[in-house]
Every structure is written in structure tokens, then in C-alpha cells.
């Protein structure tokens, strides 16, 4: 290998190291230097100097420890430079240097700092938008522009959001700690919510024409895997299982034109067996834990769907029973809607319709297009075509996403075509 070949392979090695280790290095540096921005800058400096140093000296045996230590001294240098204008920074630099010299060998944390970082980014004192943006940036290493594009917001708006969140962390002194057992459940909920929101944004893009933005879902799954390694608990397994089971159907859920295909019409041979096996086993593990939470139960429901050989073979009795448990844990109107659909499959469409009408009457889901679409579908199956048409039209008024709109339009069209060969249908008389 010539000189250039060596430099090239070192560059590739460092690039890989950046992808695989930069978040861990960052998480540890934040703990050591106590400031996110300073830690980020120092980490980048450390990677840059690795390229020059390792070329001469060869790569160290523990590159991550080298990067943490180099980053730590870069941070001290940078504080020294700035301390000409601010005396308190000099004290801070002295203190950090004292600590760094005293514990030079000890760069490996007893505890993985990435868990601290996740809990910091998802602290409930930050808004949900800020939690999502910070998590993707600091924990996943996405660039601000990438996050902005994924959430269809302006880059400078998102950058502002991140700056404000970091200022709040600093000024209100949000601690860089993993919550204690007692606080854990509430704090973990916030983390799981952020991960699931990122996943769903990548699975059901809330607006725009692309049905999915796979990279976001992939980041969420990566986070879920990391979290289940660091914090092996029921709901963490439940969420990861749920995401993997949804992911297993990604190839089957849209056709060549990007149009939506519903679960019962999907080509099941396209489902990923590998993801189903992993997701189902996580779901089982989660459900076996003491007092399974909403993610665990949703994963169990997804596993029943995934294990059915055909749509007709779906075990709706088990699914309806799981929805009862889920509604108990999470009495939200969206869960009630899904429960109604499961009951319709088990006990017939008129039972489901009664439940959905009850939910719509309470007004919580009046503006939710899927509630109207579900109602339309049950009316269609009961032959109430006029009612079905009215609900499809209402759903269409509310739906924003291209493929979902096209799906509803197709259903409406089918309804119009069907009424000619079947003039005796009840729906016609109702008009």
C-alpha cells in the first residue's frame, strides 16, 4: 500500500469511527465538560486531530478513549482562549484540567453516558418539538438541515428551536442524569413518546406526497435498539417490537404508484419474516413483564396480525381482547376507535358502527380523517352506501396526505360503480 493508500484507509477508518462512536464520545464529553456546545466543538476538533496524529503515530488501541481524552483537552484549550475575556472561564478551565490530570486513565464511564444524553434530550421541561429535535441531533447525530427537511420545517426555525432548548438546559440547570427509579416511569414515557413519534413520522408522513421517509424510521429503530440495550425493561422491548413489526410490512403497504394498501389487502409474502420473528419475540417478552404498558400491548396486537397466514385467518378474538386491555391503560379516543374496528371484525360491522358513532358523538375525533374512513368502511359493509359516501367525503375533506387521499377517492369511486349493478342496496333508498 502506498502513502496515499494508507491515508485513504485511515480516512475511511475515522469516518467509520465517527459514524459508530461519535455519539458515545459526545455523551461522555458532555458529562466531563458540562456544556453541550463546547462538547460538540471539542469532539469535532478531536476527530480532526485524530486524522493528523494517527497518520504519524498509527491508530491507538482504544480509539474511543483517545478521542474522549483529546476532546477533553480541546475543551480546556478552548475555555483558556475564551478566558481572556471572561475570568470565570479560567477557573472552569483550571478545574476541568485538574480533574482531567487526576483521572487521566479513567475515560471509560462506569455507566453508558448515552442513556444520560437520551434523558437530557427528552426532559419534560422541554417542549415536545424541542425534545424531538435535540434527540435527533445529539443522540442520533443528524444535521439540523436533515431534521428540518424530515419534519418539513424551515431550517432556521429548527436551528432556533435547538438553540433555545440548549439555553434552557443551561439556564434552568436541567441535570445530566439518569432519573432515579422513583422518577423513572414518567421520564421513560417521554423518551418512548419521542422515539415513537420519530418512527411514525417516518412511517406515516403527516403531510406531503411520500408515504414514508425510511431514514427517520430507521433512526427511531436504532434508538429503540440502543435503549433496549441500556435499559432492558418491558415497555422499551414493547416499543422496539412494535416498531419492528410495523417495519416488517413496509414493502407491502404501498403499490408501485405509492398508493396505500390496507393491511387486509397486502401481499403477505412481501412481509419481512426476519423482522416479524424479532418483533414477535420482543412483544412476547414485553407482555410477560409485570403489568405490561401500552407499547407492549400494541406490540402484541401487531404480532397477532403478523402471524396470521391470511387476512381471513386473523385471530380477532385475541386482538379485541388486547384492545380491551389497551383501552384500560390508555383511555384515548384513538385507542377507542381501533378497539371499535377490532370489535367490528369479531362481532360484525353493526357492533363496530355503534361504537364508532358513540365516539364521534363525543366529538373528540370529529376532525380525525381515519375515524370517518373507518365509519365509511363499516357502512359500506352493511350496504349503507349513502351513509358510506357521506363519511368517505368527510374523511377526504380532512385527509392531507397524497396516498391516503387517493385511497379514499378510489373507495368513493368503487361505491359509485357498485350502485349500478346492485340497485336494490339499502343505501340507494336512503338518498
Amino acid at each position: 500500500m502506498g502513502e496515499d493508500g494508507g491515508a485513504e484507509s485511515l480516512r475511511l477508518f475515522i469516518e467509520r469511527l465517527y459514524r459508530e462512536e461519535s455519539r458515545r464520545v459526545l455523551a461522555t464529553l458532555i458529562r466531563l465538560v458540562g456544556d453541550i456546545d463546547l462538547a460538540e466543538d471539542s469532539m469535532h476538533d478531536a476527530f480532526a486531530s485524530a486524522l493528523a496524529k494517527w497518520r504519524l503515530e498509527g491508530a491507538p488501541t482504544n480509539p474511543r478513549a483517545w478521542l474522549v481524552s483529546a476532546g477533553r483537552f480541546k475543551a480546556i484549550d478552548s475555555l483558556r482562549r475564551r478566558s481572556r475575556f471572561n475570568a470565570s472561564l479560567r477557573e472552569l478551565a483550571d478545574r476541568l484540567e485538574g480533574q482531567a490530570r487526576a483521572r487521566q486513565g479513567e475515560t471509560e464511564a462506569l455507566f453508558d453516558d448515552r442513556l444520560r444524553l437520551i434523558f437530557l434530550c427528552c426532559h419534560p421541561a422541554l417542549s415536545l418539538e424541542a425534545q424531538v429535535a435535540l434527540t435527533l441531533r445529539e443522540t442520533c447525530g443528524l444535521r439540523t438541515e436533515e431534521i428540518a427537511r424530515a419534519f418539513l420545517v424551515d431550517g432556521s426555525t429548527l436551528a432556533q428551536r435547538i438553540v433555545r432548548a440548549k439555553a434552557k438546559i443551561r439556564d434552568a440547570r436541567i441535570p445530566y442524569e439518569v432519573p432515579t427509579r422513583r422518577e423513572m416511569s414518567g421520564r421513560l414515557d417521554a423518551v418512548l413518546r419521542v422515539i415513537y413519534l420519530v418512527y411514525n413520522e417516518g412511517y406515516f408522513a403527516s403531510a406531503g406526497d411520500a408515504l414514508s421517509r425510511e431514514e427517520l424510521s430507521a433512526e427511531a429503530i436504532r434508538l429503540g435498539r440502543l435503549l433496549s440495550e441500556l435499559l432492558p425493561e418491558g415497555e422499551v422491548f414493547g416499543l422496539l417490537g412494535l416498531m419492528l413489526l410495523n417495519e416488517s410490512r413496509r414493502c407491502a403497504r404501498s403499490d408501485a404508484d405509492g398508493d396505500l394498501i390496507l393491511l387486509d389487502e397486502q401481499d403477505r409474502s412481501l412481509w419481512s419474516r426476519e423482522l416479524i420473528a424479532e418483533g414477535s419475540s420482543l412483544a412476547k417478552r414485553a407482555l410477560a413483564s409485570q403489568d405490561p404498558g401500552p407499547y407492549s400491548i400494541q406490540a402484541a396486537i401487531a404480532a397477532v396480525h403478523a402471524e396470521a397466514q391470511s387476512a381471513a385467518a386473523t385471530d380477532w378474538r385475541r386482538i379485541a381482547a388486547y384492545y380491551d386491555r389497551l383501552a384500560d391503560k390508555d383511555p384515548s379516543p384513538v385507542v377507542a376507535l381501533n378497539r371499535a374496528v377490532a370489535f367490528a371484525m369479531r362481532d360484525g360491522p353493526s357492533v363496530g358502527l355503534e361504537l364508532i358513532d358513540g365516539i364521534l358523538e363525543r366529538g373528540d375525533l370529529e376532525g380525525y380523517h381515519l375515524a370517518h374512513a373507518a365509519r365509511a368502511d363499516l357502512c359500506r359493509r352493511l350496504g349503507m352506501n349513502a351513509e358510506a359516501r357521506r363519511s368517505y367525503e368527510r374523511a377526504l375533506e380532512l385527509a392531507q396526505q397524497g396516498p391516503e387521499r387517493r385511497f379514499l377517492e378510489r373507495r368513493l369511486l368503487d361505491l359509485t360503480v357498485e350502485r349500478h349493478p346492485a340497485p336494490a342496496l339499502k343505501g340507494l333508498k336512503e338518498e
Binding site: 443551561r170 440547570r173 442524569e177
Partner: protein, 110 residues
């Protein structure tokens, strides 16, 4: 790190139950730990006056500056290491149940 804890009423909170009001215990606990520096209840909003100076004129208006159903009923000045510690202190205050509490760190400069 100093935090101002604003104790507010909230019409949507649990109904006030004097039997469960453990304010004395909270005060002695937080004073004992050196967390609470000072604090007090405030007189009712009917005793409030809002002051503005516009040009040379001093305008005095009867009542608080925001007409709402929620008002500041008291305050405590806290010394806590982190926001999470301040949150735990606030959560133990009886008015976290019977009203609501806002925590604001002292200004750190921009």
C-alpha cells in the same frame, strides 16, 4: 442555583382540603434542608395595585395586571442544585395539588 417558585391558584385543580394541607411540614422540611431561602403567602388580588409610568404620569390601577381566574397566591425562593431538584421540591408543596406551581430559574444573562 436560585429558583423562584410562584404558587398559583387553578380552578381546574383538586378542591382545597384543609385536612390535607401540609404546608407547615413542607416549610420546616425545606427550611431545614437549606433549600427554602424565604417565602410567603400574598394578600388577595383585591388588595393588588398595578403601577405604570407613561410619560410623566404615574397610573395606578386597582387589581392585578392580568384579569384571570388564576392568580399568584404566594412565592418561595429556592436554592437547588438542578431543575429536577426544584421540581421535586415544588411537587411536594400542597399547592401543587390544590393549584399549580411555576418554577423559574433566576436570570443567567444572555
Amino acid at each position: 442555583m436560585r429558583y423562584m417558585m410562584l404558587v398559583c391558584t387553578d380552578p381546574e385543580a383538586e378542591e382545597y382540603d384543609p385536612a390535607q394541607d401540609n404546608i407547615q411540614a413542607w416549610v420546616s422540611e425545606m427550611d431545614g434542608q437549606g433549600i427554602r431561602i424565604m417565602g410567603n403567602r400574598l394578600g388577595g388580588v383585591d388588595k393588588a395595585v398595578t403601577i405604570r409610568k407613561r410619560g410623566d404620569k404615574i397610573l395606578k390601577t386597582d387589581g392585578p395586571f392580568a384579569e384571570t381566574k388564576e392568580w399568584i397566591a404566594g412565592f418561595d425562593l429556592l436554592e437547588c442544585a438542578t431543575l429536577d431538584e426544584a421540581i421535586a421540591v415544588a411537587a411536594a408543596h400542597p399547592m401543587a395539588r390544590f393549584g399549580r406551581i411555576e418554577i423559574r430559574p433566576f436570570w443567567q444573562g444572555d
